[in-house]
């Protein structure tokens, strides 16, 4: 007998509907699974078999054909266990009310005892359910937190297979648990940051630059000797980042849902992600993809921060890979079996030593490197990559006097108020475009929003001539100047903003070789 059950698959970070068709016909006992299943889907046979028998049903002793439609898309993951089991039971006539069962879609992994286990990608699945007009979905109990933020779909959870069958059959006392919806504000909670920018002594340039970077989403390179607090500064960065908007949060959560890195208790990501892959990370780990396509670090840092500590230590090809996503804000991974696209709009924070010994330009330590060694070290970062970094900030080790200074600077919360209002200004400016921040302005946007008065124009021209800035610095300076103007609440960019922005381009000058 034939039965059809609705379920979902995940491609990239979007869900799509998969029809699980089960046909049981007389014949020699066989179990055929078609529709491009990968190994984890094929293994469902053993789990489904055991789960059905251990839920006190009979597994059919005849020919079972299962088709996952659309049949030409590769299926992966364990989420088809539950729909297959339901399909089999329906074909066997164990589920009596076919019409009622047809209202539901199912996702979940089965344990051998019939228990329903957590799966990845619930958030995009429920969002696609909403788009396709599927009203009721049954998901594993453990995925409940994620489900509570998708409105417009009624979601039920169940602990085991027996519970679902009983509920569908209308047995007495058997009901499915309905998931309570929550609003986005409920999801936000006061984040307990362990660091605060007020504890960073001195480092005035760096702190100001981080404020600008966080307000405008600018990529930033911190250069300084070991122990100068580059990592500390980078760690403080999330504390001054503006909050995620609901749309941003949903997108970020979707990615993490697919990757399985969502906090199981929270269900939604409400703070900007801060990813710090080690420099041994492979290209695939950073970019995403692999045998089972998975978002890489750059996508997990979507709308947040990717922090590359000791940037020159990363293999060249890993760094060069960043160029395209930094430009396009998404990454397209093409493999022989599939092509997936993941969003990757992140702020890059990189840190590095100024030379092999680390002490070039330090006021406390002596550099023992030859000049050629210094330029060689800096040359490890390619021009095109440097093109995409808006600000280069030199950080120096702090002296004891700085550390023992009385009084503390501004707290992260105070800075965050300024960065948030600057970000709001940007959201208003770009409300008609795909853009969220100044850093991602296109050349057209720059023409439109970064008009210069003659005085600023003159300063910029002068700066280029006197400081021998490279041409690539031009649009970077304008983008940063736009953010500085936003921080000051100014409508137009003025000469001071331009001058300050020029001040954050150290590498274009003295370091740049001859």
């Amino acid at each position: 007998m034939l039965s059809k059950v609705k379920s979902f698959g995940v491609g990239g970070i979007n869900g799509y509907v998969v029809d699980v068709e089960v046909d049981i016909s007389p014949g020699l006992p066989r179990y055929l699974l078609v529709g491009l299943p990968d190994a984890s889907v094929k293994e469902s046979r053993e789990r489904v078999d055991s789960a059905i028998r251990n839920s006190m049903f009979e597994f059919p002793n005849s020919k079972v054909i299962i088709n996952l439609a659309p049949a030409d898309t590769r299926k992966e993951g364990s989420l088809y266990d539950l729909p297959i089991a339901i399909g089999v039971l329906q074909s066997l006539g164990e589920i009596k009310d076919e019409e009622k069962a047809g209202e539901f879609a199912f996702v979940g992994e089965l344990g051998l005892d019939g228990e329903i286990r957590r799966v990845n990608g619930i958030l995009p699945i429920l969002m696609s359910a909403k788009e396709c007009g599927i009203k009721k979905v049954i998901i594993p109990k453990e995925n409940e937190p994620e489900a509570s933020f998708v409105h417009g779909v009624t979601v039920f959870t169940a602990k085991n297979l027996r519970e679902i069958v009983d509920a569908l059959n209308g047995e007495e006392g058997a009901t499915l648990t309905r998931v309570n919806k929550k609003s986005f504000d409920e999801a936000k909670r006061e984040d307990a940051h362990t660091v605060d920018i007020k504890f960073v002594r001195g480092q005035y340039t760096a702190k100001r630059a981080l404020e600008i970077a966080s307000a405008g989403g600018h990529n930033i390179l911190l250069i300084g000797p070991p122990g100068s607090g580059k990592t500390m500064l980078a760690k403080c960065f999330p504390t001054i980042l503006p909050d995620l908007t609901f749309e941003e949060s949903l997108e970020v959560s979707k990615i993490h849902s697919v990757a399985g890195t969502l906090d199981p208790k929270r269900g939604m990501i409400t703070t900007r992600p801060f990813r710090t892959p080690h420099h041994t990370a492979s290209v695939v780990a950073l970019a995403g993809g692999g045998k089972f396509s998975r978002p890489g670090e750059i996508s997990l840092a979507h709308h947040g921060v990717l922090f590359l500590d000791e940037m020159p230590e990363y293999p060249r090809n890993s760094l060069e890979m960043l160029r395209q996503p930094l430009e396009d804000n998404t990454i397209t991974i093409a493999r022989s079996h599939a092509t997936v696209q993941y969003p990757a709009s992140f702020t890059l924070i990189a840190s590095m030593n100024p030379c092999p010994c680390g002490n070039y330009g330090s006021r406390t330590q002596k550099c023992s490197c030859r000049r050629t060694e210094v330029s060689k070290y800096l040359a490890k970062l390619s021009g095109p990559l440097m093109d995409r970094i808006d600000m280069h900030i030199e950080v120096d080790s702090v002296t004891y006097d700085d550390l023992s200074q009385k009084g503390i600077g501004e707290s992260s919360a105070e800075v965050k108020i300024r960065t948030s209002s600057a970000r709001t200004a940007q959201l208003n400016r770009f409300k008609d475009s795909q853009n969220f921040s100044n850093a991602k302005m296109t050349e057209i946007d720059i023409k439109k929003h970064c008009a210069l008065d003659p005085a600023s124009e003159a300063i910029l021209k002068n700066a280029f001539e006197k400081l021998k800035l490279s041409a690539r610095a031009y649009s970077r300076i304008l983008r940063v100047a736009r953010t500085i103007a936003d921080l000051e609440g100014e409508e137009n960019i003025n000469a001071d903003h331009i001058t300050e922005a020029v001040g954050y381009r150290s590498l274009d000058r003295k370091y740049g070789g001859n």
Partner: protein, 334 residues
């Protein structure tokens, strides 16, 4: 470009490897000895087309100081501003493998010298030489090559050499297409010494090309100054050794300027200073005491960091101060 007969003979002399023939030319000064006169003319025309001016021993412009050399160059192939040959000059030389310290010293001293109206002469090599040329600014500097003018060596200085063709001066006693040969470099050092009134050695090891320049300079009776360095640094072994032997020591540009008599600080600089804003004056006063870190300037001026970045960058753009690696700022002497 028109050359006199004497000059043409000199050019012909410089183009032959045959010593006997060369001496014969020198002794007779007879242009008829040159077999292929048309070829010589075309060579000269070719040079003129490339912007190369040939200054010979018989030319008006030939620096008289070179005649004191044991073997003065017969001709100098020059490209750039020949007026620089008439100005008082100081040579700054040193190792190619210099340290950050050496590079800083060369840059700062060269800048100061150029600011006082001196021309800085060096050898257009890596390291100290390049730092000296750049420090002085390309319009105040002469580079003496050990290869032809059309050869760029080391590669890293290609842009510098081209810039100096335009605004500074590059000279060589070798034919324009002479390739690089190791043994030519020590030999050209005599011209570096010969063009200058004082020699400053920034960093050098005991056995090095720089020491050869020093010997030429001492032979000519020039004041030779050495910059002291750390005793552990191999790059400072030569200079420290010379100081130990009783050589002149230079710990500030003024030490070297003593050779040239009093060079007054320009009135112009004073005039610019008066026009500065209060904060800018404070910055200049601070930097006159020495290099300062950004954080210290912020603390002393009691300004918001963002305002301070604007202030300092603005002053840098106007050429009043310099930004150094590590977020340091220094007073720009020019």
């Amino acid at each position: 470009m028109e050359y006199s007969i004497d000059e043409k003979i000199c050019i012909a002399m410089s183009r032959t490897e045959d010593v006997k023939y060369r001496n014969k030319l020198r002794d007779t000064m007879n242009l008829d000895l040159v077999d292929d006169k048309a070829e010589l003319e075309s060579f000269i025309r070719n040079c003129t087309e490339q912007g190369i001016v040939i200054v010979t021993m018989k030319s008006e412009r030939y620096p008289k100081s070179l005649l004191n050399l044991e073997a003065p160059p017969i001709v100098l192939y020059c490209k750039g501003n020949l007026g620089l040959l008439e100005k008082p000059a100081v040579a700054i030389v040193g190792t190619r493998d210099c340290t950050r310290y050496g590079q800083d010293v060369a840059t700062r001293f060269a800048k100061e010298f150029a600011g006082r109206g001196l021309v800085v002469v060096s050898g257009l090599a890596d390291g100290i030489d390049a730092a000296a040329h750049l420090g002085a600014g390309i319009e105040n500097t002469i580079g003496v090559l050990g290869n032809g003018l059309n050869v760029f060596y080391p590669k890293g200085n290609t842009k510098l050499q081209k810039d100096m063709f335009q605004k500074g001066l590059v000279i060589s006693e070798y034919l324009p297409n002479t390739p690089v040969a190791r043994y030519n470099f020590p030999w050209r050092n005599r011209i570096v010494a010969g063009l200058s009134q004082a020699l400053l050695i920034v960093e050098a090891d005991i056995k090095s090309g720089t020491m050869i320049t020093k010997d030429w300079a001492l032979d000519l009776g020039l004041d030779v100054y050495s910059v002291p360095g750390p005793i552990y640094s191999t790059a400072s072994r030569g200079t420290n050794h010379m100081i130990k032997e009783g050589g002149l020591i230079a710990t500030s540009p003024d030490d070297v300027l003593a050779t040239f008599g009093a060079f007054e600080k320009s009135k112009e600089a004073e005039a610019t200073y008066i026009q500065l804003s209060f904060e800018e004056k404070m910055v200049i006063d601070m930097l006159r005491r020495g290099e300062q870190h950004f954080d210290d300037i912020v603390t002393e001026l009691n300004l918001k960091p963002s305002k301070c970045v604007t202030l300092l960058t603005n002053m840098e753009i106007r050429g009043l101060i310099d930004k150094l690696p590590g977020n340091f700022f220094a007073f720009n002497q020019q």
